[in-house]
Symmetry: C2
Subunit: 147 residues, 2 copies
DNA sequence: CATTTACCTTAAGTCCACTTCAGGTGTTAT
DNA sequence: ATAACACCTGAAGTGGACTTAAGGTAAATG
């Protein structure tokens, strides 16, 4: 099965210009052409899924290109690819932990403003604020403030 | 307690230039000065924590400025601030869910390459690949590939 | 047969969040 | 007193990831 650049664009909701940009950056190292026109196959679909994933994990385009080049080189680069994935795994785990703290802070602020709306002011809040919050809210507050 | 811009820079490991940039973008709406020099207080420390948090949640500088302006306006903007935090909470939850999928993909790839290293090739892997993976790995694969 | 459509290229432009530069003031240390 | 610091400003520069513009080819549709 093969696809045109426009097919891929619709399937993944990615602008055609972005797909061309990725190609120009070497992110599809095996992409074939028929009289100048790019022919995408399931191989490129897999690569595109991987690109999106690696981007979300925080890799830059040139690092993704490096990974794609390693993949092209075959079995001699298993080790490098494994190490890259291990590093990314650690990085993602840190990012998730960080996001949990952000989530706690935002949950705390949601509670805070809903209480402020109820009371019409922040007076009561300011009194309980460092250490006398309701138990469940205190947990969020402490998590968000690293304590 | 007050702090100089250099103090804050060291405490939070943020370049002085970034703090000046934040100030120039209106992210410290109450920041005082003594003969031209910025005087940071605990209020600005709280704001800086909030800036970092909102940035991590995906807000742009101008949206953070909006939030800070609302905060300056007092009780009349509780509702807007509550709504912003609610939206961000939802967004963070989506981001965490997305990161979990990325994590599953990267965990799967870690397993994949460690197996490839062990085997010296991907032949065995390619045979089990769509549906005959070891049970725990299959879960990762399915999660990462939305199935 | 003309125009619309889908593809192509290279180069320049955009957006965001900083960062660097050039030049200046005021206080402290040798 | 001179140099080293820590602060200041406004303007220009940077980096990354696209996006847009300008101009062209080739197949297909009215």
């Amino acid at each position: 099965m093969t696809y045109s650049i426009g097919d891929i664009s619709k399937m993944y909701d990615i602008p055609v210009s972005t797909l061309r940009y990725y190609d120009s950056e070497g992110l599809f190292p095996d992409l074939q052409r028929k009289s100048g026109i790019r022919i995408f196959t399931d191989r490129e679909l897999d690569q595109l899924r991987m690109i999106e994933c690696l981007k979300k994990s925080g890799l830059e385009i040139r690092e993704i290109r490096q990974f794609m080049e390693w993949a092209k080189q075959g079995s001699s680069t298993y080790q490098q690819r494994y190490e890259l994935m291990s590093r990314q795994l650690e990085s993602i785990e840190n990012q998730i932990a960080e996001m949990r703290k952000v989530q706690a802070m935002v949950q705390y602020k949601c509670w805070y403003y809903s209480k402020a709306i109820e009371d019409g002011n922040e007076d009561g809040l300011k009194e309980m604020m460092p250490d006398h919050l309701p138990e469940d809210i205190q947990k969020l507050y402490d998590l968000a403030h690293d304590r």
